[in-house]
């Protein structure tokens, strides 16, 4: 998408959609991150209409070669609206345009959060370290607010109908889903199979499904001077077991080398639990965390293989995707060693 060339069309669309007398769009520049989506910063100055005044915005649209693996922009916009209304710290979603003729792809506009999501820098940032417990508490509160959105609420179920039926047992549903993904690959992956078989044999009992972010990890939230400013990347949201989100952020591969800080390389678990329990006093079955970390590790290993495949045969040649494909052995080592530790602690398997 060449947004600069499309600015006149975007200008006319925004003026019509907001009913403004006049608008100006300035400072358009592409933001980094997002292999499937493109994000652009753009500043809006509007006279009259529903967005009167000056606004720092992000335009998020499909990349032209978008792969059909994640939610559409319209679905992501609906998820952001639901999360924003529930008090989750997300960029406020403002305008959705499903007409691909305006800028070339469907897109939406949301408020631009300050700060950065860059994970390797975040886990080493002294400003983050100084406020790590508060940040972890805040992440706990945020996740509990997301998990309070439930499919047994008929209005929510209708609003998020595109999420489909909640699974009977989210863990076993994931095992089946990931096996189907493995079956679609040209090579076998016995170590990921080992992880999935263990996850099948040790699946926790069924719990009521909640909304789950689905990609809840360091790197997908923004922080400014140690303070959370936005939870991003909602394209993998689903009805699932709430422990799945916690297992993902805690998986060793998502601690970015700060292995001793279980919560995403940022902080220990305790402040996160405090924050979560402040919003949802029942908490979560924390004893299942090893299980869900292993689930998260298997998922990231599978995604790494898929990204490598997109480079090899998916028509998206890319150095980053190619190297990600070679990362799978790291996740495989993590899952083999963690399963061995859990089995040893349980006195066998």
């Amino acid at each position: 998408m060449d947004l600069i060339a499309r600015l006149p069309a975007l200008h006319d669309w925004v003026r019509a959609a907001t009913g403004a007398d006049a608008v100006s769009l300035t400072g358009a520049r592409r933001l980094s991150g997002g292999a499937i989506q493109e994000n652009w910063a753009v500043d809006l100055d509007s006279e009259g209409g529903s967005l009167d005044g000056r606004h720092a915005l992000v335009l998020r649209g499909d990349a032209p070669s978008g792969v059909a693996v994640s939610r559409s922009r319209a679905e992501e916009f609906a998820l952001l609206e639901v999360a924003f209304a529930a008090g989750v710290t997300v960029p406020e979603p403002l305008l959705l345009c499903v007409d691909a003729r305006v800028v070339g792809v469907p897109f939406y506009l949301m408020r631009r959060a300050s700060g950065t999501a860059a994970a390797f820098r975040m886990v080493k940032d002294p400003a983050v370290a100084a406020k790590a417990d508060a940040l972890a508490e805040r992440l706990g509160e945020e996740l509990a607010r997301i998990h309070a959105i439930r499919p047994d609420d008929p209005a929510m179920r209708a609003r998020l109908a595109f999420l489909g039926e909640p699974p009977a047992n989210a863990a076993l549903a994931r095992v089946a889903e990931y096996r189907a993904h493995l079956d679609a690959l040209p090579t076998a992956h016995p170590v990921l199979e080992w992880g999935l078989r263990w996850l099948e044999r040790h699946a926790p009992p069924q719990v009521p499904a909640t909304l789950c972010h689905g990609d809840f990890r360091t790197g997908n939230y923004m922080v400014d001077d140690g303070q959370l400013t936005a939870l991003l990347d909602w394209e993998f949201a689903s009805w699932s077991d709430p422990m799945e989100d916690l297992g993902y952020i805690c998986a060793k591969a998502w601690r970015f080398g700060a292995t001793g800080k279980r919560l995403g390389g940022i902080a220990p678990l305790d402040p996160f639990k405090r924050g979560y329990a402040r919003v949802a006093p029942a908490g979560l079955p924390w004893g299942q965390l090893d299980y869900w970390e292993i689930m998260g590790t298997v998922r990231w290993g599978l995604v790494a293989v898929q990204q490598g495949e997109r480079h090899i045969s998916g028509g998206q040649a890319s150095l980053e995707l190619a190297l990600t494909g070679r990362m799978v052995a790291e996740m495989e080592q993590d899952l083999l060693l963690q399963i061995a530790r859990v089995d040893a602690a349980a006195g066998g398997s």
Binding site: T187, A188, L319, R326, E330, Q333, A340, D343, A344
Partner: protein, 122 residues
Amino acid sequence: MRDRPDAADLLATARKAVLDELVPLLPPEAQYVARMAANAMAVALRELGTAPADEAAERRDLRVLFGRDADTADVADLSRRLAREIRSGRHDASAEVHAILLADVRRRLALCNPRAIESPPA
């Protein structure tokens, strides 16, 4: 007889040129790309010439499970067979298979990220 320097020398020299001469001149986003390129060269360099020894080690490990098939069958087919058997539950909690898988993972880590290799649990 091929001309010298050989592939390993060329890759190592190109990698050093990227890191020592190009990276300092580049803006930060481009430095990131250049470091990824240097990393890809390092993996390729470690991989040069190691395929026969790695395949022999893989076949030696799989002989424990598959007997003489492990010497002759295609390694991709052996891998598919092991994957199928694991999924069916045939190797549940097998310390032997866990050790075979871990050895395989370590051989692959030795190519793509040797520093990530962890010592086995006691």
